[in-house]
């Protein structure tokens, strides 16, 4: 119990003293996760909207697949990316294994299906409401897609946040493709795992607090934005 309270106190001290190592790890974590979410948004938003607006044979299978991919096991994704990027792999020549770029790729693959699946649902619901009006105005398919994405912008923020939550809390894939190298690819989650195994609970706890605070803050901001949007736009 004393060890635990000592670890807790020292974790708080690390945060309040703005410990340089802690800040570096937080900084890298945010860069990797935000980059992954941005890339996943570029893929997932148009993909989800396109599936919502299209009708083609096998659409149900695509929707089921998108939903299933939300539960992709991170370690499996990590392993596949590892195999692709390793020296003997097809993309080995780029030499990005054990770099933040590899971690971004892995997280993008994990997050894109989440954003795509949630986007599909949002846009599908909006399409039911707007379809006749857009067709009456003779709005083309691409214009309709862009319009519905814009109309659903506040709901889609939730999809992006879900993606950010997944990316920032992810450990398996980034551990495999990043290698958890100190000052290079060590992020909050991999540090927590490592420091816990070493018995260094203060840094692990400190990062745990920051990680939770970050996710709570981001979600609170999103909720506030949605409430503001509801009041302002109806």
């Amino acid at each position: 119990m004393n060890d635990l309270s000592a670890a807790f106190t020292s974790a708080v001290a690390l945060i309040t003293n703005l410990d340089a190592e802690l800040l570096a790890i937080i900084g890298l974590s945010l860069r990797v996760s935000l980059s992954a979410v941005a890339l996943a948004a570029l893929i997932g938003l148009p993909l989800g909207a396109a599936v919502a607006l299209s009708s083609f044979p096998g659409r149900g299978v695509v929707v089921a697949l998108l939903n299933a991919l939300m539960g992709l096991p991170p370690v499996v994704v990590g392993l596949l990316i590892y195999l692709l990027l390793s020296r003997a792999g097809p993309l080995g020549e780029f030499g990005i294994l054990f770099t933040p770029a590899a971690m971004v790729i892995a997280q993008t693959i994990l997050v894109a299906p989440i954003i795509a699946a949630l986007t599909r649902q949002v846009v599908f619901d909006l399409h039911a409401e707007y379809d006749e009006q857009l067709r009456s105005l003779q709005i083309g398919w691409w214009h309709a897609l862009a319009t519905l994405l814009w109309e659903g912008r506040y709901s889609l923020l939730t999809a992006l946040l879900a993606g950010f939550g997944r990316a920032s809390a992810e450990v398996g894939a980034v551990m495999i493709v990043g290698g958890n190298i100190n000052h290079v690819t060590r992020v909050m989650t991999t540090t927590i795992a490592l420091e816990t195994s070493k018995g260094n609970l203060s840094l692990a706890l400190g990062l745990g607090f920051v990680l939770i605070a970050l996710i709570v803050a981001v979600n609170a901001a999103a909720l506030a934005l949605q409430k503001f949007a509801q009041r302002a736009h109806g």
């Binding site: 409401e129 707007y130 067709r135 009456s136 109806g234």
Partner: protein, 244 residues
């Protein structure tokens, strides 16, 4: 206010010719063998009790749904010559004026003309003062005026109105009716559905009366209201229930 030319060059799309139009869904016949020709002038009111097929007929004419059988023919094909206002207005999450500009952009109107055309449409609807208010927080009557302004902004040759005053209070109904008359006077053909008899009497030049998906009467308004021919129309005009 400067006169702004229509965004769409006009070549008449009239007459609108429906030939043996049928529409079925899930094995149920909802529109049965409707043949009618609509000319460019005169306000056409589509009447009938709930479930008669008024909204379906409007959507078939406007091209939002395809007939199961028969043909809907316009004398010429022209983009943006038609517009429709729905019973529940569907407005975008943006300001009133940007809703109108959205419709104008789809017609290919030049960017510098869009604002002027949109302002003219809002002026016409009497809601110029609401131009920069968010569309979806407007009152029901204001929303419907905006929907009407948006539809009219592209200067369509024909405007379909699907029970546009169904949920509005009397003052809003009056304002919408005045706007419909004004749009008609400016040369846009009005085809409007309603089950409100007194509103039909105020607005109609001709009446299409539907009953159970069939067009049972097509007559000049005076003739229809004075001497309806079919038992279904007689019962409707007299405010009675009618079973077949």
């Amino acid at each position: 206010m400067a006169y702004v030319q229509s965004a769409v060059p006009s070549r008449s799309i009239f007459p609108l010719d429906l030939r043996n139009v049928c529409y079925s869904k899930a094995g149920q016949s909802l529109i049965t063998d409707i043949t009618v020709t609509l000319q460019a002038r005169g306000r056409t009111i589509v009447m009938g009790p709930n479930g008669a097929g008024k909204s379906l007929l409007m959507r078939l004419c406007h091209g939002l749904i395809r007939p199961s059988a028969g043909q809907v023919n316009w004398s010429s094909e022209q983009r943006h010559a038609q517009a429709m206002v729905f019973q529940t207005p569907v407005l975008l999450r943006r300001s009133a004026i940007k809703n109108v500009e959205f419709a104008l952009r789809a017609t290919g109107a030049r960017a510098r003309d869009r604002r002027e055309l949109a302002e003219a449409a809002l002026q016409q609807a009497g809601i110029a003062h609401l131009a920069h208010r968010q569309a979806r927080v407007l009152s029901g009557g204001e929303k419907q005026k905006l929907a009407l302004a948006r539809a009219w902004s592209i200067r369509p040759q024909i405007l379909f109105l699907d029970e546009p005053t169904a949920h509005l209070d009397p003052s809003a109904v009056y304002a919408i009716e005045q706007m419909i008359k004004s749009i008609d006077e400016q040369g846009t053909k009005i085809v409007m559905s309603t089950h409100d008899l007194s509103q039909a009497q105020r607005l109609a030049d001709e009446v299409l009366f539907l009953h159970q998906g069939k067009l049972v009467e097509h007559a000049a308004a005076l003739v229809f209201f004075e001497q309806p021919h079919t038992p279904a129309a007689q019962a409707f005009v007299n405010g009675e229930l009618y079973w077949e």
